[in-house]
Symmetry: C2
Subunit: 199 residues, 2 copies
Amino acid sequence: MSLLAAPLERVIAELGKLPSVGRKTAQRLAFHLLQAPADEVRDLAQALLDLKDRIKVCEECFNYAEEERCPVCQDARRDRSVICVVEEAVNLVSFERTGSYRGLYHVLGGALSPLRDIGPGDIRAQELLDRAGREELTEVILATNPNVEGEATAVYLARMLQPTGVKVSRLAQGLPAGGDLEFTDDLTLQRAFEGRREY
Amino acid sequence: MSLLAAPLERVIAELGKLPSVGRKTAQRLAFHLLQAPADEVRDLAQALLDLKDRIKVCEECFNYAEEERCPVCQDARRDRSVICVVEEAVNLVSFERTGSYRGLYHVLGGALSPLRDIGPGDIRAQELLDRAGREELTEVILATNPNVEGEATAVYLARMLQPTGVKVSRLAQGLPAGGDLEFTDDLTLQRAFEGRREY
């Protein structure tokens, strides 16, 4: 028999399924919610229910959306001639936070990975090619992750887009801002060398 | 205009209200939930709704309970002659985890704090006195926190219980298991000296 009341145990178990939420954290959150105003807990529960019921995928860029098109694609002020290709919708948030990109996005929904058996058919590569053919593009920026799978995906997409004649670029790799040369790994250092620019 | 769909923003905002969950963590959890099976999200939401609707306070020890009495108080195998007094219901979990305590509990719901204007009337002190008069007790263990407020509360409760004649004890203070003398603070060291026991 558990020493905690069953509804409390259930919340702890459910919260514990979230990434990076262990038993102790789940317990702390559950006890917090017990003491929180009932409205706050109901709001959270309702928001969670709405999440699954009301979220769709943007039919243009495959970002998460409440309507047919996501807030970015709906925004008339965005530059529709540039597409930034990201692996996941969550990556888009990071770019938006910088405030310096005003084009559109394309969410692949993953990266190529022979090891995990993810091929071109499993990511939205064809959809990107379709968009490149349909829209008046000046540039496609490949913003997949700077790891093996992201690099492979970028190479694949660059080749795939070549026949369309659109300019394809890749995010710069090099030293992170505020980084320290002493603690920079070899590969980053090598890429910083390769990508050096004239003053 | 936010770049995230409104239902997603709402989940992030609601999750961000939880203790030690910042914007970034809330965002990561929300994107995880978006990709999680719908059932899992519904289960979490339902567990949260049930939490507020179905959790009561045990009428005996004031632990959280689903029925009139909490699982501990209902357990016939517990030793009903000992009461361990804790500040919050969450503390009870720690004691239960040790598996070495088989008595009952009493949840005060806080500690005395003149600074935060919390007096004896704001914690369940009278209720403890009532229990001490009603039940056949051999011992009351004061397990409030080893800080200023917890100590003050323990001293207050010990004096309050004196007329009842019941044995009142306080948790031992000293070196934590696996601790290092070099890094032990002065007060802990002092208490470890005071509380030393003969071999």
